[in-house]
Assembly symmetry: C2
């Protein structure tokens, strides 16, 4: 198909398609003449992946490059390709992280029993940063740091990995990475959206008075009167 | 305290402090002279909140304004203030959402039983957008759309609301909103980070072979041999 048709089919503008080709994110089309090229279903699939990553995941162009390089370098094993794409999706720490926060994050990972997390995983640093900011604004999340909370997160992640991991040895590299990236980015957004809806529901259910400041007392406290 | 001391105590640069004052995000200090002003603990608390929202939550300046307006307008009830801040945290849909996707999202909310979600909640539209993108890239998340997944999300949100909702009628408006915003933004990042660590653990546990393409068969299939 021509570039105009490719743009129509994927909803990505011609100028963005040309930009992706220049940046090495999309393979060039087969040249048909001096100013014409032909594109196929592989271009469609790659553009749909790039569009989803950009628009829903907010993934930067530099992180798109890391992911695409990992897909296109066939000398990397699937496991290595996954590690590269996985790490590219970790948000980088925006500020210096203290040793105490790093130790705090490592202890948390140990306590929950996530023994297979690499010691060099950038996600440990990201978790340390988040714990540090939560501490610095004086938020009282202590009670959330109980085992049951981590067990719920673990159960959600296990369900997701069950569905999204490369259990299908016939799938190509593009498809494998797309599934993993979907798991990390799109399902992350899906999870956050569901969680916000659940927050609205539970918060409204508890706000008995119109100002929302004093919900009805829980059963055990009314039993005392 | 002087502006230089305020900058040191909060880690926010003097030029950013002045920008926040100009934008109405931070009240001006008490003027001590032509070019000097004095700041207090209220400024420290507000700056720490703004910094956390910017650096960890990635909240835009325009959304910061909506949140601060809701805090500072004392004619709004706590419930209204929460609604405004809550909605400001919803990511806006980047593309047109189809009627089918909107119906899909509404049906999902009904099915899980989140009956207190407002029909005008922008989060419904956000969920519809996410479902639409997941569909358009052909991701097979069907099996995740089972009740157990939603029940886990619901349990996590209920735990969070238990800790973060305004159960304390003595807290001031800044503190109430900060707790809610922390619940929405920082704990959302906390949850995603924990989930990524759990993904890495479960994914590595399943990848028995170095190429990660074919994990060891589950116990029930080996029992058949």
């Amino acid at each position: 198909m021509r570039v105009s048709e490719l743009a129509e089919q994927t909803g990505v503008s011609v100028s963005t398609i040309k930009y992706y080709v220049r940046e090495g994110l999309l393979p060039p089309g087969n040249r048909l003449g001096e100013r014409r090229a032909s594109y196929d279903q592989r271009h469609v699939a790659r553009l749909r992946l790039l569009r989803a990553l950009r628009e829903v995941g907010g993934v930067s162009v530099s992180d798109l490059k890391t992911i695409v390089l990992a897909i296109d370098d066939e000398s990397r094993t699937v496991h290595q390709m996954f590690g590269a794409a996985f790490d590219a999706l970790t948000r980088s720490a925006a500020q210096p992280v203290t040793k105490e926060s790093l130790r705090d994050a490592d202890e948390l990972v140990d306590r929950v029993g996530w023994t297979r997390v690499r010691s060099i995983s950038p996600e440990r640093r990201r978790l340390a940063e988040i714990l540090q900011v939560i501490d610095s604004i004086g938020a009282d999340i202590g009670p959330l740091r109980k085992t049951v909370y981590y067990e719920l997160v673990d159960a959600i992640a296990a369900l997701e990995v069950d569905r999204l991991d490369p259990l299908d040895p016939t799938a190509d590299r593009d498809t494998l990475v797309r599934r993993m990236v979907v798991g990390q980015v799109l399902l992350g957004e899906f999870l956050l959206s569901l969680r916000r809806l659940a927050h609205e529901h539970h918060s409204a259910s508890r706000s008995a008075r119109p100002d929302g400041a004093a919900p009805a007392p829980p059963p055990d406290s009314s039993a005392k009167t």
